[in-house]
């Protein structure tokens, strides 16, 4: 598949955001993934050409960061946190259940091309453990049952809502946002999930506040 002119001009647009064009490489590779479904050789060569660096230099970057995939990713990337806290709270059990249910191993995609399953490292939502990410949206407080239902719903094309965000978009659509092209969904979802607010709620109940400002 050839990368079209619109994408080429968007890649240049990314590079132009920065005082030095090469700074655009990470978001440019996100855009390549949004168009190609993975980091392709053509994408690598195009980035190299635009930035005036070698394809080897671009490859070196593409292979360093775990979000860049060289094999096709499904419509929904399902990341199960199996770092210690989530693992202990149930992430290991969720990951095992999903591997069996989907009949795939780590970093593999279901035959229908819908789901790519991967165990991920800490995603900064430990107060919602165990956490599953779908296309990098939070699915908080999961169980093996809820996670199984989640992937079944995704495969069946049902609408799935992030527990702290919008309706789940496709992996390619997500990658486009990461490249710096907003999708207009910033206003979806709540400001904060329940765990983010527990301390604030106690402070309100108790009448606890920060001190009054002591200057004019």
């Amino acid at each position: 598949m050839a990368i079209d002119d619109k994408t080429k001009s968007e890649l240049r647009e990314i590079a132009a955001r920065y005082p030095e064009a090469r700074s655009g490489l990470l978001p440019m590779l996100h855009l390549v993934q949004s168009v190609e479904g993975r980091v392709t050789s053509e994408g690598i060569e195009l980035c190299a050409e635009i930035l005036g660096i070698t394809a080897a230099e671009v490859s070196g970057v593409a292979t360093f960061y775990t979000m860049y995939k060289r094999r096709p990713v499904g419509d929904y990337h399902v990341g199960v946190c199996t770092n210690t806290l989530c693992a202990v709270m149930g992430g290991d059990a969720i990951f095992e259940r999903l591997k069996g249910h989907l009949d795939v191993g780590n970093d593999e995609t279901t035959e229908d091309g819908k789901i790519t399953l991967e165990h991920v490292e800490c995603n900064a939502a430990c107060d919602y453990a165990p956490v599953v990410m779908v296309n990098w949206e939070f699915m908080d407080n999961q169980t093996p049952e809820s996670a199984t239902q989640l992937v079944d719903d995704l495969r069946a094309g049902k609408e799935v809502q992030s527990t702290r965000g919008p309706k789940i978009c496709t992996w390619r659509e997500a990658e486009r946002v990461l490249a710096g092209f907003p999708d207009g969904r910033a206003d979806d979802g709540p400001a904060a999930g329940p765990a983010s607010l527990v301390g604030l709620e106690i402070a309100r109940e108790q009448g606890w506040t920060a001190p009054e400002a002591n200057n004019a």
């Binding site: 920065y18 490489l25 202990v88 709270m89 490292e121 907003p182 329940p194 301390g199």
Partner: protein, 436 residues
Amino acid sequence: MPDTLTPVLTDNWGDDRAWTLASYAARGGYSALDKAFAMDPDAIIAAVKDSGLRGRGGAGFPTGMKWGFIPQDNPKPKYLVVNADESEPGTCKDIPLMMASPHTLVEGVIISSYAIRANKAFIYIRGEVLHVIRRVQNAVREAYDAGHLGKNIHGSGYDLDVVVHAGAGAYICGEETALLEGLEGRRGQPRLRPPFPAVAGLYASPTVINNVESIASVPSIIGNGASWFSSMGTEKSKGYGIFSLSGHVKKPGQYEAPLGITLRTLIDLAGGMREGHELKFWTPGGSSTPILTAEHLDVPLDFEGVGAAGSMLGTRALQIFDDTTCVVRAVLRWTEFYKHESCGKCTPCREGTWWLVQTLAALEKGQGSEADLDLLLDQCDNILGRSFCALADGAVSPISSSIQYFRDEYVAHLTHGGCPFDHTASTLFAAEGANA
């Protein structure tokens, strides 16, 4: 004496559409900006110094002092880079902050950039948090539209552009020089220092790199005064901070309090430990900070107190594990994380974390002998302080501290011929029998 909890950064998180400019402005947002523009940039640096604010990303370096290191006679452009690569296991404060109130961060970015005389700032957010990136992108756009960013902000004559930059999955990019490499479009491997970023950072120009929570604290310091900030906290650890409780407590979540609060108080606020279980071990500030136990419940959670207890305050990422949790399993998993995230630049870390996993994995399976514990500690000795950056120091923290407190549990794996724990018992759904 300030109240037990002091919501400042979290104060608006429950507001309707808290992430929007309208909501933020309705409670006085961006008013600190005008106060800042009426001040000389050096006076802002002085105020942040006077406040006693220390870096909230883990290391605790005084923020105002860091800003003061920027050589203002250097003709190159100055840059502010916000480290929003929150990835330290257990750490989960910057992500909810940016999701709920991204404008607090943006206002902090503007004041901080003005103070160090930067006209370009970058917010480097880890890529794996899509909705947070949407919210920050949106806040920056709203700030431009309202004239808080761009040319001649608020008629001050000061110009600032902000770029929101998504990372692509690399724990090491939380290390500030590795982050700069990522931001320059390279593999995220740490740089040799000196030169420090203050002198030669992004594009070899003077650069300040600060954590999200540090920068987000700046508007409140400028708005309310340095002495207001320093009226909270302890002698050398001033102000408030977000304490993130996760794991086996009844109400995990975010608790914003003056530095110096204890875990005993925090667990009380969180409704206590899970029913029928006791605290076994915890991390004060993420997996890179040596674990502590129930004997440390009354340690003041400030930089000095936790240091004196043999650990580090880190990011106040309090991961709480009860008596159902196998410490060997927990430590092995962290060690696998460090091995996976080692950038490969230096030998002690690249090879050392690999060996740590081999040795620990065998012990967890009950293979080997007690002498392997000494081997493990010897490996730690050959890594700690011998690596290029702090990642490998972090890798040995859980190992050496867990052997210090739970040597018997390692030995029990050997005598038992494997892990003596039922891992199902420590899950969230154990009580409900959901996994039976």
